[in-house]
Symmetry: C2
């Protein structure tokens, strides 16, 4: 196999130039262990002169440490990476990792290959894994021994502490708001069945509707705008008298909005529409979208901090979601 990497300064080189041993150079550069002032100076100068940078792979191999944090997004296709929710997680993780000189990687975790999660968690070069939108089946792939290297934003497991948003409560709030504003024939566009993050909102919807003795109108979506359009068409077709729609993601809500506009249905007069997540474009639609804003950034910050520190304790305070009232509902 080719070795395409050109010769670069190694610790050995730095030591030679500084006139000390490799051990001393290592001690100086890692900051661990004693070293005389003169040795310290000479090594630092040599490193500077040679443009030395430690090899992350070698360091990971020697220490068992880890140089990067991986945000692993579960899903059926790489397209799941294209999600505002994920972006917010990555952003928060990047901010936590930057001062510690830990890189952030974003990777797709195919639903059909749960063992890849174990690989990721076992990889010496990864410091920790932040799983997003995972399933019980995938979490089962993480053995208890790997405990502490993996944290989930979503559901958890005995081996994987969970930092979750109260999406059930947020959904409750939204459906209740629709009810309180006089809506009685409320439909809900859900996400794919396999996603735990759609199950709780669905349950919340069913609960609120059930308590008010109102009919359940569930339509499956896929979290995309196109899926939202299709779902809205289905709703108009099956239940033409629907007076409110709660979509489990803003993208689907915006898709629904586009369909209603094209059909000449008034929003919110004829049909109220509410989304979920508060993506940036939600404020710009016509009419502007009523939705729920989850503290994803803060949760992700807590999760990233926990996994970097190998802490097992979820955050003490749960950050509540917030109802964002705009024009559409």
């Amino acid at each position: 196999m080719a070795r395409p990497l050109p010769q670069r300064a190694t610790l050995e080189d730095v030591a030679r130039v500084a006139g000390v041993s490799r051990s001393t150079a290592s001690r100086v550069l890692t900051g661990f262990g004693a070293a005389s002032l003169s040795a310290r100076d000479r090594v630092a100068a040599a490193a500077e002169q040679l443009g030395y940078a430690p090899d992350p792979a070698a360091r990971a191999l020697a220490t068992g440490g880890g140089v990067r944090l991986v945000v692993a997004v579960a899903g059926t296709e790489p397209g799941v990476l294209h999600d505002p929710y994920v972006d917010r997680v990555v952003r928060a993780a990047a901010e936590v990792c930057a001062p510690r000189e830990v890189g952030v990687s974003l990777e797709w975790l195919p639903l059909h290959a749960p063992e890849r999660l174990r690989r990721l968690a076992e990889d010496r070069s990864v410091r920790g894994v932040l799983i997003v939108n995972t399933t019980e089946r995938i979490l089962a792939a993480v053995p208890a021994a790997l405990d502490g290297r993996t944290v989930s934003i979503g559901i958890g497991s005995p081996a994987v502490p969970s930092f979750d948003v109260d999406n059930g409560g947020a959904a409750s709030t939204i459906v209740s708001h629709l009810y309180d504003s006089g809506r009685r024939r409320i439909a809900m566009v859900t996400g794919p069945d396999w996603m735990p993050c759609t199950r709780r909102p669905v349950r919340a919807y069913q609960q609120v509707m059930g308590a008010a003795a109102l009919p359940i109108r569930l339509v499956p979506g896929d979290f995309t705008a196109a899926g939202g359009q299709a779902a809205m068409l289905a709703i108009l077709d099956r239940w033409p008298d629907t007076d409110a729609v709660f979509a489990n993601s803003d993208a689907m809500a915006l898709g629904a909005l586009a369909v209603l506009r094209r059909r000449g249905v008034g929003v919110p007069d004829d049909v109220a529409v509410a989304g979920f997540d508060d993506v940036p474009f939600a404020a710009l639609s016509a009419p502007a979208l009523t939705t729920a804003s989850h503290p994803v950034g803060r949760i992700a910050t807590a999760a990233a901090t926990a996994v970097l520190d190998r802490a097992r304790t979820p955050p003490a305070t749960a950050y509540p979601s917030e109802l964002i009232l705009r024009e559409s509902a």
Copy 2:
């Protein structure tokens, strides 16, 4: 330093269980080198039984190869990762990398720390780097010796082959379209000055306007919806008679659209609005956004393939951008 990684099956273990030497086990598992059928079977069985997976760090150290491809996005803050353009690059890269068992990492490349790019390119655990939206200054950090490990989606350098979109041509097409539909007082909302990807569209705009002896109306934006709103307000303020706006990104165009709607300005009757990039929501706005679609996916696919193969040749065919005519212009 703690060694938090629990004991896991190593090649040595597999060899012992299979009753062969480490070398033979390695040969069988990598597929390189000869091995008898029985050895092959025994090693495979042992690996299966122990749940063996090679340690990426150790493999990277030994081969100098690399296990992941890094998509590095240059910018002033981690927020640049939150960009539909970047998402499309990551997606395409993930698709190219998946069959080769190469992971994809997304990392922010701070504008003020160009040396991090060299670190990235030197890291043995990275197979290659895909730079997005870079500057000449950052590219200068890549020494010629690292040639072939780095590829740019955007401008290039002697050491970094470039796979670029013809955004100048696309901008020309858009401005010409506005002109052809009778607009004469056309303003443009640009991106930040430091971004090369805004310079060519600006030049194209100036060229088309200059050729028609029309006045130049440039307003700076920041590629976000909020920036687009601010820019639109500035345009209405400074040049109330403007009859067309070309925004250098869809997000800014959608922001502009929101401002015009709030002001009661008719689009496209009073003011035509055109965007750039064709993000998913562009089709859903009211009115739907006229924009240009760049073959980002195909370019990124070519770039990822090139960097994985260490090829130095840019793709033979340039993929043209496409004018997406919708309602706003």
